[in-house]
Structures are given as C-alpha cells and as structure tokens.
C-alpha cells in the first residue's frame, strides 16, 4: 500500500503568450494551467493507487494566488494537497523549488514513491525531479513510460537515446514521467466539487524558516526570434524552376 507523492506546477499557459512591441513578451492576458506533464504524473499516482491501494498526496510550490491550481490537482484524484506558497515563489529556479520540496516532503510527508512530470511546460529545465531525488537521497528514474510496483521494488521502463531501459529500484524512489505513460482522465463534476472539501496543508515561508537563494540568475528575457528573410515563389512552372535554381546555388544538393 504505497504512499505516493505527486509534484505539480501551476504555470502560465504558453498558448496565451504574445510577443510585445519591445521584443519582450506579453504575459498580461496569460491564463494559468496545471503543467501538462504534471497531469500525467498525478494520473500515474492515482492509477497506482487504484491498483495497489495506499494514498496519493499532491504537492506544489507556488505563488499564493495559485489556489485554483490546488483545486485542479485535487479534482484529478489525490486525497490531499500541500500548498507551499508565498508571493516570492512566482519565478523560482530549480535549485530553489527542489530545496523547498525536499524540506517539506522529508519533514512532513511519509512517502514510498514521488512522481514528477519530466519537465514543466513553461521552463522545461527537467531538473526539479532529479535534484529532489538527490536531496532526499533516494533513487531516481527519469523519463518513465511504464511503471509498476513488485515486492516493494519499482519496475520501470524509461526512455534513453538508444531505446528503452527496463530498470528496477528499491523504494522509496522518485520517478519523472513522460506524457506517453497515460491519458489523464477528464475530472467529472463530482470530482471538482469534492476537491474543495479535501484537506490542504498550507505551508508558508515563515513555516519553512530557511532561505532559498537562487543560484541561476535571470539576466534578461526576450521574445524568441526565428525570423529569416523569406524569398517567396509562386507555384507556376517558372517559379518552380527559379526555386530549384536558388536551392542549387546553395551547393547543398549534390547534382553530380
């Protein structure tokens, strides 16, 4: 009966991001969402619970405004949530997030398995899961497509550059999951209504009584520009010929 912790992040929905005039990006109209791969992480935890019993706890480090994110996460199956929140937690970097998670999880939560998404859909640093495992001193298996528990060991299929590795690790352990691992369920109405009634442990910066300096410092941020100067052709025979000549001139195609 494993105790499972699922970590999630409440992120800006990148579909709403627009470049602003000064080459910066405009976040004013951006809505928030539960990071895509974290939905898979929560679903993985809930599916394991359905199979093996035990508990699922959702944990997040977020700004204090992310109350909707807590409800969203709870509507997807976990029985309780830890809302580690402060105004200053808006733009943390992975060193900070993993340190805060490690402190709270090790001090306040009994766990056998921690599940994270492979990366967050906003920053996609893919660091928090592996860093958290090291801080907690537990085995880490990243990029997992398939997961099961057997005789108190984790059996996981993970993606490597060469293909797939099937690995086994003792519990407690941490995994990061790929979106291939499952199809997150759509919360039903009753799930969303029940979410507001589930227990939420509020953890503030005062409670943590520690400092978390950022080690990766943001110097600047600008809209990505992938713009090239495009020479355009129509689709008539002369245009096709002109296009072929332009490509030939680059010398890339071996016409010998």
């Amino acid at each position: 009966m494993p105790n499972i912790v699922c970590c999630f992040k409440w992120v800006v929905d990148e579909a709403y991001i627009k470049p602003s005039s000064a080459g910066k990006i405009d976040l004013e109209w951006a809505e928030h969402k539960l990071s895509d791969y974290d939905r898979n992480a929560i679903e993985a935890g809930v599916q394991l619970q359905e199979e093996y019993g035990g508990t699922v706890t959702a944990v997040t480090v977020a700004s204090s405004e992310a109350t909707k994110g807590i409800k969203d996460a709870l509507s997807r199956g976990p029985e309780k949530a830890f809302f580690i929140n402060d105004e200053q937690f808006e733009n943390l970097e992975p060193v900070q997030t993993s340190a805060i998670l490690a402190q709270v999880i090790s001090q306040q939560i009994d766990y056998d398995l921690i599940i994270c998404g492979e990366g967050s859909s906003d920053m996609y640093s893919q660091q928090v899961g592996p860093r958290l495992a090291e801080k907690l001193g537990i085995p880490c298996i990243a990029l997992v497509k398939k997961l099961e528990i057997k005789d108190n060991r984790l059996i996981a299929e993970r993606k490597t550059d060469e293909g797939i590795e099937v690995v086994s690790a003792p519990l407690p352990a941490l995994v990061t999951v790929l979106p291939d691992i499952n199809n997150p369920r759509v919360p039903g109405l009753k799930d969303t209504l029940a979410a507001s009634k589930k227990p939420v442990v509020d953890v503030s910066l005062e409670d943590l009584a520690a400092e978390y300096p950022a080690l990766m410092v943001l110097e600047d941020m600008r809209a990505a520009s992938l713009v090239r100067n495009c020479t355009r052709f129509g689709s008539g025979p002369e245009d096709i010929q002109a296009f072929v000549e332009a490509v030939n001139k680059t010398g890339i195609i071996d016409r010998g």
Binding site: E14, D122, M123, Y124, V166, L215, L226, I240, T250, I253
Partner: protein
C-alpha cells in the same frame, strides 16, 4: 582550481564538447578536463582533440546503469573545483547533470543554446522557455557554473598531432541499487534524422497517409531523410516519434530543410532553427513557416511537389 570540465555519456557528443570546452578554457587561460568512459586509446583521442586531462570512467558491472557514475563524478568535481562544467544534453545527460548539480549545490542551465564568457570572466548562457516563445539569458552565481549542451551545437573537434595530456583512471563506483533488467532498441522504420544533411518534413497539409509516398519521392530525389511534425506522428501515427521534429521531440541541424504542408508552429520551428537553409511549401501565404524560412513556395503541395520532383530530375 581546475578550469573547464566536460562530460558526455556518448563519445560523439564528447568530441563536440571538446570544441566549446577548449574555447572557454582558452578564454579563461585554464585547463580542459574530459570525463570519458573507455580505455587509454579513447583517452588519447580526447587529448589529441583538445583535452589537457582525461578522467577515465571505469567500466560498469552487468546491469549497472550509467547513472551510477553520478556520485563518482560529483566527488571528483567537488575535489577539483572547476569553474565550468558542461554536460552533453542527451536524455541521460540531462538527468545526470541535474543530479550532479544537486550534489555540488550549484546552478545548472538546461539545454543552453548560446554560451560565452563576459568581460568579467563570468559565463553568460541562453536557453529557450515558454515552449520556444521566449529566450532567457542567465548566469550562475555558484561554482561550478554548469550547463547542458544540446547535441550538434558544435562541430566535433579535430585531432592535432602534437597534443599531450594526462590520463587518470577513476575507481569503480558503488552500485546504486538501481538495476537495468533489460535494454530494448529503438523502433525500426526510420533513418536517423538528427544526422541527416537534408531533410524533407511532412506536415498537417498532407491529407492522406498514402500521400507520404510523394514526400518520400521528393526526399529520395534530394538524397534526404523524411521527417514529420507532431500531428503526423502523435495524432495520426503515420510515422514514428523518432521521425518527429519539435520542441519536445527531435532537434535537427540539416544543411537543407524542406517543409511540405508544414504550417510552422513555434514548437516545430524551434526544432529546425539551426538548419542551414529552410524551405517551405504551403498554400497559406500567412503560414508562420514563411517567417522562419529562407525560400518559400506558396501553392498547393499536391501540385508543387510533383512539379518540383520533375524539375529536380531534369
């Protein structure tokens, strides 16, 4: 204090890291150390290509995952205290880098797209965020300053005949408790698009699976590999994910890329931004791909592709 360290879990990427590592080491006036798995001749290969020192990672036991090197590498780095530590951003490399950084209590810039030393001797790095919509510029205030470098960001270093260096063999790491039970290879049916010089990419404009034959014919005429955008592999399953180019799929750096019916969503274009020449065929004049391309044909691909094949064959 040691200068620049590099580690790649695959030697081809190690050769690429030698290029950027040597450049940074020269700027700092310090040495370049490479962590390499292999034997003495592998080590000499790295030395001839720019390393001043090679730390040889010992071979692992049967069923030991590469990640077992992590405590070993972190320990050595902790003793040597390098300024900079670069790791190849392979799937495994990204995980190992994060865990090594955690052990060293230092910051890490993931999938760094640009790296240079400023006039204060500090590393300035760039990376993409928000699904490719924005670029972050970061620096790291702790030691070592760590970054993961995507494959093919740099040319492989060339060997020089007169280089000398030291080789030191490291002791085998302890077993971590994680065992590799089985290794399965990749799905068959796709060429390696990350190595291709020329790529023809099929996008949403392709209406039926059978029409991929036309795209393949264009590819064959050009000596190209065929790839696809996410809808083709993820939604329609007409091609495998190994052929998919995009932010959370493959990044490619071909000399020539031709998108056929590719609209040019940012998540895909990010995967081809380093391509030499980008061409696109799309019926929609306002498709975003035409902003990111060098040459664009505006027209119905079902007419253009056959015409193009005919013109190329002449």
């Amino acid at each position: 204090m040691a200068g620049v360290w590099i580690y790649a879990d695959r030697n081809e990427q190690g050769m690429e890291l030698l290029t950027v590592g040597r450049g940074l080491a020269n700027q700092l006036g310090k040495t370049l150390t490479a962590l390499v798995a292999g034997d003495d001749s592998t080590a000499q290969g790295f030395i001839s290509r720019g390393a001043d020192e090679v730390l040889l990672l010992p071979s692992l036991g049967e069923g030991q995952p590469l990640q077992d090197y992590i405590p070993l590498i972190a320990n050595e780095a902790s003793k040597a205290d390098p300024d900079i530590f670069l790791i190849a951003a392979s799937l495994r490399g990204k995980e190992m880098a994060a865990r090594i950084a955690a052990r060293l209590d230092t910051g890490l810039c993931s999938e760094c797209t640009a790296i240079n030393i400023d006039d204060k001797g500090k590393l300035q790095m760039e990376r993409l965020m928000y699904g490719g919509a924005a670029v972050q510029k970061v620096s790291i205030s702790s030691r070592p300053q760590m970054a993961t470098i995507p494959p093919r960001s740099y040319e492989a270093a060339e060997p020089q005949s007169d280089r000398q260096g030291q080789v030191k063999s490291l002791d085998p790491p302890e077993a971590s408790g994680i065992q590799v039970i089985e290794r399965k290879g990749q799905e068959a049916g796709s060429g390696d698009i990350t190595a291709a010089r020329v790529i023809v990419c099929a996008g949403r404009g392709i209406e039926k699976q059978e029409d991929l034959a036309m795209v393949r014919e264009l590819a064959d005429t050009l000596g190209a590999e065929i790839a696809c955008t996410r809808p083709i592999s993820e939604e329609k399953h007409w091609m495998t994910e190994e052929s998919c180019i995009g932010l959370s799929a493959k990044e490619v750096k071909p000399a020539l890329y031709i998108g056929v019916g590719v609209s040019g969503q940012i998540q895909h274009v990010v995967g081809i931004r380093e391509a030499g020449v980008i061409c696109a065929i799309n019926s929609d004049e306002n498709a975003p791909i035409f902003e990111a391309a060098d040459y664009g044909i505006i027209g119905d691909l079902y007419k253009v592709v056959p015409a193009l094949i005919a013109a190329l064959k002449k």
